[in-house]
């Protein structure tokens, strides 16, 4: 099992220890260490369930959590009848969504369309979702070779040209992703001067022209290419223009 396969195995098992994926189960059966990982994660779930089942949910917890962002909601909530038990979980999940809400500012070179705004929003959400996994991978993994990177990039109908331009900017993270449902993408990362620089290649998208993305932490550029789009996302003080040139000249489309 190579590093890429191991990361995929680990991601599936951590996300769903009870997975019935035949490839995962077969890999676990063939490797005691992988089977132990599956067993450990299932045991962890059992412990979590046992722990949580012993803790009664305080009356009104969901309403109180939902009331945090808006005071007026608290008044309405106290007048509401007690919700059904499953509603508690929906309410808690809704609280999590509110807690991780992101405010995004766009500095547009050209007038943004609503689809561009939605696209940029999706991209930044994707970055925040993957940031821990990515940082962990960046800390652990060494440079990835072109064949391994291109194996991943084939998912998005593209490849990296080993033309020497990236000799001093080696790719250190590459995984398939899906920023937009039904459009296959590849998430690459290199080490920048200010932190990790993300390069996302999508084989198609609704973007109608180059535009920038910005929020409190990240700057980004969405760059239409011949057969798709390239998105660069880096920390606010990262100089993304150099990576725009490097990767624009290094990405080939094979679809």
């Amino acid at each position: 099992m190579d590093e890429l396969e191991f990361q995929k195995f680990k991601k599936i098992v951590y996300a769903d220890p009870g997975t019935e994926d035949p490839e995962v189960l077969q890999a676990a059966r063939a490797n005691p260490e992988l089977q132990k990982l599956v067993d450990d994660m299932r045991e962890l779930d059992t412990s979590v369930a046992a722990t949580l089942s012993g803790i009664p949910i305080p009356a009104g917890l969901a309403e109180n959590l939902l009331a945090i962002p808006e005071v007026d909601t608290a008044v309405a909530a106290t007048e509401s009848p007690a919700p059904a038990p499953r509603y508690h979980y929906y309410a808690l999940a809704a609280c999590l969504i509110l807690a991780v809400g992101i405010t995004i500012g766009f500095n547009l070179n050209r007038g943004p369309t609503s689809s561009n705004l939605a696209f940029g929003d999706n991209v930044l959400k994707h970055i925040y979702v993957d940031v821990d996994l990515l940082n962990s991978a960046m800390a652990e993994s060494a440079t990835m070779t072109f064949p391994v990177v291109n194996q991943v990039m084939a998912n998005a109908g593209s490849r990296l040209n080993d033309n020497g331009l990236l000799q001093n900017t080696p790719v250190r993270f590459a995984l398939p992703c899906e920023v937009i449902p039904s459009f296959q993408s590849t998430h690459l990362a290199v080490q920048g001067n200010a932190g990790t620089v993300n390069i996302i290649v999508i084989n198609n998208s609704p973007v109608n022209g180059e535009f920038t993305i910005r929020d409190d932490r990240y700057d980004g550029i969405v760059i239409p290419m011949d057969q798709g789009n390239m998105i660069l996302i880096g920390e606010r003080n990262e100089d993304l223009d150099q990576y725009k040139d490097l990767f624009s000249d290094s990405i080939d489309w094979v679809i």
Partner: protein
């Protein structure tokens, strides 16, 4: 994790409930369990090297 472990919902069902992309849900579940393992000092776990050395 509450929806999955206690509620018994699948990743796809959780995605529909939360109106999120399925991949987003699975990534968040991955992160949640990663943090739990760290909090409970269950890492270091299986290393990449040991996995690679097995078929």
């Amino acid at each position: 994790m509450l929806l999955q472990v206690i509620g018994g919902f699948s990743g796809k069902e959780i995605a529909e409930i939360l109106k999120l992309n399925n991949n987003t849900v699975m990534t968040r579940l991955f992160r949640a369990r990663s943090k739990l393992r760290q909090e409970f000092n269950l890492d270091p776990e299986l290393t990449e090297d040991s996995a690679k050395h097995n078929p």
